[in-house]
């Protein structure tokens, strides 16, 4: 069994890479900062760097468009599940969000408008898929080699290639034997007509529960294959009233007040999600109430009841998922999948469920120990090797042995209860401080100390041990051995305050 992965994206990748890489690579003059990836993180970093007067930036993006997650995830029903007023940048508020939880296309428009507004277009090199990132000790430069055979260099590098950007197919036997149509949620085929079709959906995670209510309207028959039921909470989704848009435009302070309110509301959820507290029981009761109210059949309810503590895996929000499953043309299957065959999916109860099309809502390749492309640090050390036993960083952002390298969404920076962008803003501002330090002190290398990283991680792991994520369920947050290199064990506010200061004591400052 193999884990098939596609590095797909909607843009065309530059071709002829092989032919070119034989010739001497094309090199350009070193920049100040090199950013891999033009999603929320990369673009946000570029904006803040620019605002801090650092404009010598090059961004490498493998697709032909910006947007990352929101360019790739265009499946029907795709939307954020953190309210838009919080799932957006505070330095670029949008008074015009049409709904409390905006759809994928609207988020992508917001990102594109951001590129226009801050005039980031000139920084971006599209169709540049980074295949190698290496540090040169002598010059104090990072070199990014791309599939197209070009090399881009800079004094500092930012890895913003996204935590969930490589769609993954599950390791199911016979996956290549299926002769019908296959669609991954993160690579939607908008030309496929679902009307009159028998469709199977594998997975019941965040994407699946958005897709299913949409597909059930079109498909002749929809069969949903579930391995583990998730906690599903009611979703307070509504259209933004016009007065609100006007108010936000005329009185921006009102929008930042709402954002603050949403932020605090989500922060309070940390109590339920991160630690096992009285709030956890209350949240579980809310989840069970939601299920009971929407699902009358006892057996179906049993099938949909999670058997792990809330918060251990990502919590989902939906009002129309449970009702969709109960439509006459929809069926939930909880038998384990035995294999895929020419005509469909064989489950262990011995039946072959036949389909015209199978939708894989099976998520992304998440690496807890490797890196998506080789990253070579000081003296040629390999990050994947340093991370063999689980990824580790200092404050999630720097890694000892990899000077001048900054990570977004690095180890233990994941939010379980709040907007990823809230965390991202803290990271980005830290990056700006780091790069400013390099420039102001004219450093060759700003290198975090090994000792500082160890102290930091000992503390993180100690705090993680007490969280719900480490309470015994399997999730993509954990490595196979149950090491949590993904989540930050605390409030977003705690994260923000740890990122507030760049403590030079924890770094070696090497001048040229």
């Amino acid at each position: 069994m193999t884990n098939a992965t596609t590095n797909r994206n909607s843009g065309k990748r530059a071709n002829g890479a092989k032919a070119k890489s034989l010739a001497a690579p094309k090199r350009s003059r070193p920049s100040t900062v090199l950013i891999v990836g033009a999603g929320f993180a990369g673009l946000g970093a570029a904006i803040r760097l620019q605002q801090a007067g650092i404009k010598d930036i090059v961004m490498l993006e493998r697709a032909s468009e910006v947007g990352g997650t929101w360019r790739d995830n265009t499946y029907p029903g795709a939307a954020c599940d953190i309210p838009s007023n919080l799932y957006s940048y505070s330095f670029d508020p949008n008074p015009d969000w049409s709904r409390s939880f905006s759809g994928s296309a609207e988020i992508l428009d917001y990102i594109k408008a951001m590129v226009e507004r801050f005039d980031l277009g000139n920084y971006i090199r599209f169709n540049q898929n980074v295949t190698d990132l290496a540090y040169d000790d002598d010059q104090g430069l990072w070199h990014a080699t791309t599939e197209a055979g070009e090399v881009f260099s800079a004094r500092a590098a930012v890895m913003a290639q996204g935590p969930l950007s490589n769609a993954s197919f599950p390791a199911i036997t016979g996956i290549d034997e299926f002769q019908g149509h296959k669609i991954h949620s993160a690579a939607w085929d908008h030309d496929y007509d679902f009307r009159g079709k028998k469709v199977g959906v594998i997975g019941t995670g965040a994407s699946a529960i958005q897709i299913i209510p949409e597909l059930v309207r079109d498909a002749d028959k929809l069969t949903v294959f579930q391995r583990t039921p998730a906690w599903v909470m009611p979703r307070p989704d509504f259209q933004t009233p016009n007065w609100q848009k006007t108010l936000f435009r005329k009185l921006p302070a009102s929008q930042s007040a709402l954002r603050k309110g949403l932020y605090l509301a989500h922060e309070s959820m940390a109590l339920a999600v991160i630690w096992n507290s009285p709030m956890t029981a209350i949240a579980e009761r809310l989840g069970r109430w939601h299920l009971k109210r929407q699902v009358k059949d006892k057996w179906l309810r049993r099938q949909l009841t999670p058997n792990y503590r809330i918060g251990c895996k990502r919590i989902l929000v939906s009002n129309d998922y449970y009702p969709a499953l109960q439509q006459p043309n929809c069926k939930l299957i909880t038998w384990p999948i035995a294999r895929l065959s020419e005509n469909g999916i064989r489950t262990v109860e011995g039946i072959e469920h036949q389909f015209d099309c199978i939708v894989f809502a099976t998520g992304f390749e998440v690496s807890h120990s490797g890196t998506p492309f080789p990253v070579r640090g000081s003296g040629g050390r390999l990050l994947a090797e340093d991370w063999q036993r689980g990824a580790q960083a200092y404050k999630s952002i720097n890694v000892a042995g990899y000077p001048n390298l900054f990570l977004t969404f690095g180890p233990n920076s994941g939010p379980g209860h709040n907007s990823a962008l809230v965390y991202m803003e803290s990271q980005i501002d830290y990056i700006v401080k780091g790069v400013r330090t390099i420039l102001d002190k004219n450093l060759k290398a700003l290198a975090v100390r090994d000792r500082a990283q160890q102290v930091y991680n000992a503390d993180i792991q100690r705090r993680l041990a007490k969280t719900n994520w480490n309470s015994g369920c399997k999730s993509w947050y954990l490595t196979e051995d149950g090491f949590n290199a993904t989540m930050f064990p605390g409030f977003a506010t705690q994260y923000a305050s740890q990122m507030e200061e760049l403590d030079l004591k924890d770094y070696a400052l090497i001048t040229a």
């Binding site: 006892k298 262990v348 109860e349």
Partner: protein, 308 residues
């Protein structure tokens, strides 16, 4: 049977799956069922199929309670595999013209009571109870009944299907006995007391009240078909032999109880047991169907069709 490595077993289970479509249900041989056999076989198959299904539901309850992730997965697979057995047996009934159109065969009243009990209470039972009763049911009913069936029926398709079913079944038993030993390991006086307290649990008493007559009823059905009682008992003794082969296994208090019970069942002269239980069987046969609530929806997932 040696104690097995559960992780390896899970891998093996995952890698050796079969489906109804692996069997040609229209292959020749269906006419080997004699006219005389047919009516009794029909009843027998219906019972057998329902027992598989009841076993399936018990595994579902065990999956939720399993102490480790490996066991949880194993039980989830076994849940589905028992369902597969029921489906395959239904397909045989279809082949032999024993199904009324697409209708599910009616479960007998004692099975109906067990189904009712499972639906209401099985998820609340400690995994120990089911973990011991299920191997007993499997070895006694499945084991004896299947063996008998193969001795009596010559249809090659039936043999092909049961070869696969029995392979699964022996794995279920291997895991079942291993778990019984795990539970017996380090069993203490405290455990005995806890268990005794649990026995007083009215929900469990209800379960026992529906399980005892089921066994006696099955015995009657099987005897009616010409299986010697002795064969059934032989199988039940096997439970005692395998379950009690190690110190740990013997120390499992549930094993002791079920063993004791199976001795009563086997001992026709134990009138203290059989008199009242037979009376219950008789009494339950008077329960009007309408008095029972509608069958739970998990029952409706049975199918004889290899593809959906």
């Amino acid at each position: 049977m040696a104690k097995i490595d559960l992780d390896k077993m899970l891998e093996k289970v995952k890698n050796t799956q079969w489906a109804l479509s692996d069997i040609d249900w229209d292959a020749p041989g269906a006419d080997l069922i004699t006219e005389e056999q047919w009516p009794k076989l029909k009843e027998f198959m219906a019972d057998l199929m329902w027992i598989e299904h009841v076993g399936a539901r018990a595994f579902a309850a065990m999956a939720n309670k399993a102490p480790t992730d490996t066991l949880r997965q194993l039980y989830s697979y076994f849940h589905a595999e028992e369902q597969r057995h029921a489906n395959a047996e239904m397909a045989l009934m279809k082949r032999w013209g024993m199904l009324d159109g697409d209708e599910l065969p009616e479960p007998n009243i004692n099975l109906r009571l067990v189904i009712e009990w499972l639906d209401r209470y099985s998820d609340e039972m400690p995994v120990y109870v089911l973990g011991t009763v299920v191997p007993m049911l499997e070895i006694a009913l499945d084991g004896a009944l299947c063996k008998f069936l193969l001795d009596t029926v010559e249809d090659p398709v039936c043999h092909a299907a049961f070869e696969k079913i029995n392979d699964d079944e022996s794995r279920h038993l291997g895991v079942g006995f291993t778990v019984m030993e795990m539970q017996g390991h380090g069993a203490t006086y405290i455990k005995m007391v806890q268990m005794a307290a649990r026995l007083m649990d009215p929900r469990l008493i209800l379960g026992i009240a529906s399980y005892f007559p089921l066994l006696n009823k099955m015995r009657d059905n099987v005897v009616a078909m010409g299986l010697s009682e002795e064969k059934l008992y032989e199988c039940m003794r096997k439970f005692e032999k395998i379950g009690g082969r190690t110190e740990d296994g013997r120390r499992n208090p549930w094993f002791q109880i079920i063993k004791l019970h199976s001795r009563w069942v086997v001992d026709r002269d134990n009138r203290l047991y059989h008199k009242p239980v037979d009376a219950i069987v008789k009494a339950t046969s008077y329960i009007p169907r309408k008095a029972l609530p509608a069958v739970p929806s998990w029952v409706k997932e049975l199918t004889y069709k290899p593809t959906a």
